[in-house]
Amino acid sequence: MNGKIILNNQIRHLIRVIFASLIALMICYYFSFTPFGWLLFATIFVMLTPTGSALFQGLLRFFLLVGIVTIGSLLFSSASLFYTTVNEITLGAVIGIIINVLVIPDRVNVEFCRAVTPILQSYANYFSGIVELLITHQPGNTDKDKIIVESNLQRMPSWVYEPGLDIAMQKGYRYFFMKLAHVGEILFAMHHLARYHFNEDLLSEIKQSLMQSVLRVEQFIAALITLLELKKLTEGVIDFYDEIVMIEENFKKTVPHSLELLDVDKQHVYFAEFIYDLKDLRNALILLAKALRQQSSKEIKNI
């Protein structure tokens, strides 16, 4: 339980802010220069940074404060106010930034993993719901799964786009984030196609392969989560390439092969698109795994 609490970045951040505020308060009490509490304010202000960019964003906020004070002093033409305030702001910023960077700092990888894991899990459930909808034409839990995906996506770690995140890690995290969004878009697209009523004979032919691919996606996502947690995979993962080939072969048996003729029937175009989406999903998942392997090797090197 305690481990979990200490892993939570928000709680770590809160502890840092409280600790820095106490130090700032003590300094304020013993060596206060101005009555406005600039020191305490600056300490807290420079600490309100997004995950992983405490130094850069802290410095940005410090310069912003100095800028505001400079403009204020110019407007009220008070040099003494300027010097004392800037002194306090600088001292406060030094305390805030140092504590924010050094005392129980953000664990970027843990936070990223914590945010991404539920998204991946909800993707697996959503995909299974989409396949069920395609085969049975019953929405079942698909709409609920979609709502869960949407709410999980809202908790995506958007701080990966903030400037100041460790440059060595930044590119990998951003790439992973983009690919994750890509998988989401593919699933939404598949949901739209799964609503269509396809030929029952074709569906019964490919049912087995589709169910198998659901299993494979679940296994693949479980493996991705294991990699995210920097653990070793106990067994190999088989992707769903064979299943896609099987589905495609069955589809080709029932529909015309050439593109011009494919155009004739909407049903055929939709199904061809569904298969294309399946391929895209496979590729995106593989790229996620590759990105993760590179990222984890970088993280291990950093450790």
Partner: protein, 187 residues
Amino acid sequence: MLRFKNYIHERRTKKYLAKSLYEMIKIQNVYFDSYLKEDFLSKKYVYARILHKRTMSFFRAIQHARELIQKDLNYTVMLSKIECLYEVICSTHLLRYRVNEYSVFEICARELRGLEKTSSELLTHLAKSFFEKNVIVKIDDYLDAIHSFETIYNHTLQVVVRDPVVFLFFIQDLYALQELMVKSDEW
């Protein structure tokens, strides 16, 4: 008092449904930027960040609408149509992952601009129709834009592009979008 409460509730539901449509227009604009702006490849992360922000705003709006509609089932059909619209838009614009050559989009840039303009106008009209009674949703311009894209697909893209089937999917999804929007009297 109860009537006033219902009125407020209805206004709020309409507001969030309209907002989700406006957010959808913004999302669409980013998608079209990926085809039409030259700096897209060099500023991929900048566009991805903008897209993420807009998508989150859309999800928030639709979530609010969903919560409000749970209490009053009058707008369930509209909500599910908006959800379907988003799915079709996602499906349509998977094209940007499937075609990596910017030069291909340069060939059909005029048609893509036409599609962006007309579809945004349509969605704006649909959003306005929640509050104004006499909004006429003109589908003809959008259909013309699809037809002109289809023409360039048949005459040029089918020959030039490495995997032309992705443009066929694009066109099919454009029609699906049109079908969803054309039934505006049901909205």
